[in-house]
Amino acid sequence: MQLMSTIRSAKTAPALLELSADNWRLAVLVGLVVSALAVVTLPASGSFWVVGAMSALVAAAFAVNAYRRRYYGGLLVAPAIAVLFVMNIFPLLWSLGLSFFAYQSNLQSIRFVGLNNYIKVLTDEVAAPGNWSALINTAMFAVCTVSAQMIVGFLLAMLFAKQFPLRKYLLILVLTPMMLSVVASGVFFTYYYDPTFGILSYVINSVAGGQFIVMDSKAGAVAGIVFADAWMWSPFVMLLVLAGLVSVPKYLYEAAAIDRVSAWRRFWSITFPYIRGLLMLALLFRTIEAFKLADLVIVLTKGGNDTMTISYHLIRIANEQNKTSEGAAISYIILFIVIVLTNLYLYVANPKNREA
C-alpha cells in the first residue's frame, strides 16, 4: 500500500471542458445529456443503443483516467462495476424512466404520462384491485414463510451447532432441499397434496377417514405453498445461524458453566449477540426472496384460490399482457418497499454500531 502511494505519479486531473481521453467528468456530463435526449426523442430500441454507447464512453474515460494516474484499485474494480451497471443499474434506471411513460412493448408508441402509471396501478378501478390483492398476498406469504423459515432454520442450526459423529453427512441431508429445482419440488408437492393419490391425503384418509383436499381453500393453498417454500429455504437460514453459532468462542460457554449461568440466560447473554446480526441478515435475505415468490405459485396453484403474488402478477402484466410501463411502475413500488424494509432492518440490526 505505502509502496504504491509513493510511486503513484502526481498528474493533475484535466479541467472540466478539456477534451482529453481521461476527462471522465466531461464524459459523464456528455453521457447524461445525450442519454436523456435519446430517451425522450427516440423509440426504446433506438435509445437503448445510444445509452449503451454513452455508458461505454464513460467507462472508457474512467479506465483511461485510472490507468494514467495508476489507480490500480479503480482499474481492478472497473469490470465488476461495468457488468453491474449494464445488467443491474442501467435496467433499473431504464425501468424508472419507463414507469413515467405510456409504453407497451408490442406497440411502438411511447408518450410521457408523468405519475399516471403509479396512480393507475394503485387506484384504477380495473387494474388496482388485482395489484393490491397480489401485494397483500405477497406480504402475507412473506410473513408466514419467513417466520416459518426463521423458526425451523434456527432450530435446525441449534441441532447442528455442536460437533458430533457423522455431522457432515447429516448436514448435507438437510441442505438438499435447497439444491432442488423449484419446478421439481413444487410439482412433487402437488403430488403430496393431491386429494386422490397424494401421500398426505392417503395418510389422513387412513387415520381420520374421508377425502382430504389441501389446496381447495385459500387457507389450504397458502399453507401448502408456505410449507413447500419454508421446507426448501429453511436450510439457508440454518446455514446463516450456524455460521453465527460456531463463531461463539468455546471459552465463553466454559465461563458460563463456571458462573452457573442458566441455559436461558446463557443463550440470551452469550449466544444471541453472536447470531443477532446473522438472524437479521437471514430475515432480510429471505424477506426479499419472499417478494420474488413466483415460481412455486406458478407450479402449485397458478395463482388460483387467491394466491396470486406480486411477482407472478408482474410477470403476467409485463410479459403476457405487454403492459410494460405499468409493470415498471409496479416493480418500482416493490423496490420502494424493499428499500424501506432494508433500512428498517439495518436500523434494528445495529443500533449500537451507529452510536459507537
Binding site: L166, L170, S181
Partner: protein
Amino acid sequence: MTDRVSFWEWIGFRSVGGIAEAGWGRTLVVAVVSFIYFLPVLFIIFTAIKPQGLALSVPPTLSPTSFFGLIPDQFVFTPTLDNFASVFSRVMTAGGQPESTGFDRFFFNSIVIASASVLLALVIGTLAAYGFSRYPLKGNDTYLFVILTTRMLPAIVVIIPVILMFRAVGLSGSYLGIIMLYAAFNLAFTVWMMKSFFDELSTDVEDAARIDGSSEIKVFFKICLPQVVAGLAATFVFGLILTWNEFLFALLLTGPDTRTVPVAMNQAVSSGGRGTDWTLLAAIETLFLVPVFLATFFLQDHLLRGVTFGTVRK
C-alpha cells in the same frame, strides 16, 4: 460408583455445561430429524427408480426394499433404471420409435450457462475484490454496499428492462445474455467473499515481492491467487447452487437452443396434475441434483463462509 448421564447430556445438550463435543446420542436425534426433513427428497429419488405404472398407485408405493420387513409389502416396488434412459430418449407418439428428447442438450446448456456465468463472476469479482482489498478507494464502503445491494434487489425489478434490452440487442435466447445476467447476480457475493479472503492475507510477502521488482500482475498471480484457492472453490460452489436452479430468468430469457433443465423440466411436465409423468420428472430431477449435491458435499466446510458473504470467519 458410576457417573450418571442424564438424557439431555446424552444427546449433547448438557454435556459438561454444554461444552464438550456431543456424542452418538446427538447423532441419533439429529439423524431422525434429518431423515424426516430429507423424506420428500428421498421420495423423489425413489420415484425416479419406480416402474412408470406404479407412480400413481393407491396406496402409494414408497420404497424399493422392505427394509427387513419394516415396510409392509403393499408399499414396496421393484426398482428400475428405465426412467433415467427415457429422460434422454423415449417414445413420444403412440406406436412411434424412441426419439431424442433433447435433454442431453438441456443438461449441456445448464452446465455451460451455470459454469460459465459463475466463472465469469469469479474472474471479474476476484479482480474487484483484490482491488477493494489492496487499493481502497475513496468511499470504499459505499461501493461495497452498492455491490451488495444489487444482490438484495428483487430480481423482478430489473426483469422488464432486461427483457426489453435483450430483445433490442438480440441477446434474447442466446448464451451470452443469460450468462452475463447470471454473472451480474453472482458478482455481489463473489466480491464480498473473495475480499474477505484477500483481507486475511498478510501483505508482507507482497511488499517483499514488490521491493524485489515483481510487477503488480506477477504479485497478484504468483503470490496472492495461490493463497486463496480454497476461497475460489467455495465461491464457485456457492454461485453454482444459486445459478443451477434459477428458473424465472431462464424461463423468460432462454430460447429453444439455450433452454436450461429447470425450464425444460417445467415444459416436460407442464400438463400438470394427472397428466404429469412423475417418474420421468423424478428421474430428471435426480440427475440434475447430482452435480450440485456432490459439489456441496465436497466443499461443505467453506459453505458457512459463503452464506454469510464472508463476514463470519473461521
